[in-house]
Amino acid sequence: MRRLILVSILVLMFSFAANAVKLSMYVGDEHMAKVMKEVTAVYVKEHPDVEFDIIALPYYSGFMQKVSLSIMSGDVPDLIQVTTAYAPQVKEYLINLAPYIEKDLGITPKDYLNSILDVTSVYMTQGDEIKLVPLEFTITGIWINKKMFEKAGIKYPPTGGRSDPWTWEEFKDILAKVKKANRIPYALSYDYSADRFFNYLALWNIKVLDDDLNFVMDQYPDAAKAVEEFINLFEKNLIPRAEWLSGQSAQQDFFGGRTAVYWSGSWQCDNALDIMKETGKEFDVAYVPMIKDWFGVPGGSFLGAFKTGNKEKEAEAIKFIMWMAQKDKGYLEFLKDGLYLTAYKNHVVDYGIPEFNKWANEVFSKLGERAPVWTAITRANVIWSKLYDVVRKQIALGITGEVTAEEIVKNLRSEYEKIKSEASK
């Protein structure tokens, strides 16, 4: 009898597992894959009839190629985590979540969007449809090496003895001072990234594209001056040329101690905490300098469900997304596991790590609050993603002295016209 009961239990368990719906999910980096595995493990405890297969496709190594090929072949994953850079390209293949938000969350889609930071919600919609829910919110900011700044006797905003952001002239002076005081070869690390350059331009209140995606950079009288000022930072050996000319890692330069400042963002928090723990180095976050304005440029990633045609899987995928869309359920689990910033308004999270709480709630939140919506709108499109490499290359040519700042602006206009003409036909 006992044997019969045992066998029945085993058969029931196996049949349960065999009946479990398996959802595949593409994510863009190993850290996100690790976090998603932890989060889905919590979900599976409440929903044992679902399994997850999480596949990490590195973002900067063919992510969009693989996703495009999946879409083209019809073999798409059930779920996808996608950043602001790629969201515009995949949205049309995703399920409209608006009806489920109303049904499962009990609020209208409009109220749901209003509960999210404006600079994030612009990426989530396509017309009246809501295609994505937010995962982490990211914002750019300045990382500093605390000990190097102490040695140079420099105060930094907002938590390092100064409340207001530096002006641009002050920032350049500070870079020179911290470099000299610490006898380091350079002062500032700056990722080889069009988005990072966009942040710098945005502080001059210079747009590359307007809200209608027309190229407008050449309409600003100080566009060339802004480009020249940026290139001068390399000429004065304040930024390592190798970071923009030969792929040297800006992250390694900063965390390795070759520079004292890193123009990066909130996504470095986890890394910074690890290095602080292992090496005893101390890092902190500061406001970006004020040129004509000061704010961080938003980014982040989102979760969506592909239209696969498999109704059972689509239903389960949507159920998971709705769980992730709730601030006090899946989303909170996700933020704490990954040390990510929240994309929801008026959502204060206690991460349990004092340093991270300070960075998130005192610095990055302020930089995010000040970010104008146009910084999101003008990048949430295919044209910006096609201009991305062109922008980087033109700046690199400027750094080598092969083109002037004026020529860079002109060349960007010319490349934009080519991209637009192809896109419109």
Binding site: Q65, I71, Y388, K425
Partner: protein, 288 residues
């Protein structure tokens, strides 16, 4: 008699079929597909659109494409002669079958065995301006560090030298095979007639290596013209477009900008240029 001849032809054709199927499936059909795609506009996500000759017209005004062709020729112009003469010199030094030669042949052949990604990464680290071993040695010797990969000309020379490092060992083995097939009696006869070492090499050995020379040249040119991985890893085509060779430029148009149709048109032109180069080399051989 006629039936016997037909039967021989049929039997020979049977042996060619597998190779023919492979060639048609993996070479001919993709080439035709690329050529056809050159008349379309496609971003992988939306339906393919026929655009006629637009891609080819745009290509004529694409200065960075023509720059990439020029960079490819410069890259070949630096790499191929160095590969040829270095591998020939190594082959002459190591073609005898003694233990010393065998050990050193393996040593020089090793770079060809390692994956291009590994080799490229290694060279990138060695040549890094701030953290590279080469600049560290220079600084210890009291010399100024060199921008190996950050200056346009230096970057092109650096990737060319890395290519020479990878390919010379393989070409050395081809030359060794050629040298070992030259009967020793010819060289001995020349020595008996009073020729010195250089004269033996130049008047006896080198002419007899004609076919091997041509093979090394053709393989080196083909390899360098389609070189992609090493340059992608070392410089990603930078600084700016200084080391953006044609295959890399095509790749970036296809998989960074998702302009598959345009990239296909560029590929067709690159293929045509490669064909012209190959025919030129063969014509030079024929005229010899």
């Amino acid at each position: 008699m006629r039936n016997k001849k037909l039967s021989i032809v049929k039997n020979r054709f049977v042996f060619v079929i597998p190779g023919l199927i492979f060639f048609v499936t993996f070479s001919l059909i993709p080439i035709i597909a690329v050529f056809v795609m050159g008349f379309t506009s496609w971003d992988l996500l939306h339906p393919i659109k026929f655009v006629g000759l637009r891609n080819f017209r745009n290509m004529l005004h694409d200065k960075w494409f023509w720059n990439s062709i020029l960079v490819s020729f410069k890259f070949m112009g630096i790499s191929v002669p160095l590969i040829f003469f270095l591998s020939l010199a190594l082959a002459i030094a190591l073609y005898k079958e003694d233990r010393f030669s065998k050990i050193f042949r393996a040593f020089f052949y090793w770079p060809y065995m390692i994956p291009a990604v590994v080799g490229g990464t290694m060279w990138k680290w060695l040549l890094s301006y701030d953290t590279g071993l080469l600049n560290y040695i220079l600084s210890k010797l009291g010399l100024e560090p060199v921008s190996w990969l950050e200056e346009s000309t230096n970057a092109l020379i650096s990737v060319s030298l890395a290519q020479v490092w990878i390919l010379s060992g393989f070409m050395m083995m081809i030359f060794i095979t050629g040298l070992q097939n030259i009967p020793l009696e010819y060289q001995e006869a020349a020595v008996v007639d009073g020729a010195n070492k250089w004269q033996v090499f130049w008047y006896v050995v080198f002419p007899l290596l004609k076919n091997t020379n041509l093979l090394v040249l053709i393989v080196s040119i083909a390899y360098c013209f389609r070189s992609f991985t090493l340059i992608y890893i070392m410089t990603t085509g930078g600084p700016g477009y200084a080391t953006t060779v044609a295959p890399l430029y095509v790749y970036q148009r296809a998989f960074t900008e998702y302009r598959i149709g345009y990239a296909s048109a560029l590929s067709a032109v690159v293929l045509a240029i490669a064909l012209v180069i190959a025919l030129t080399v063969l014509r030079v051989r024929k005229s010899d």
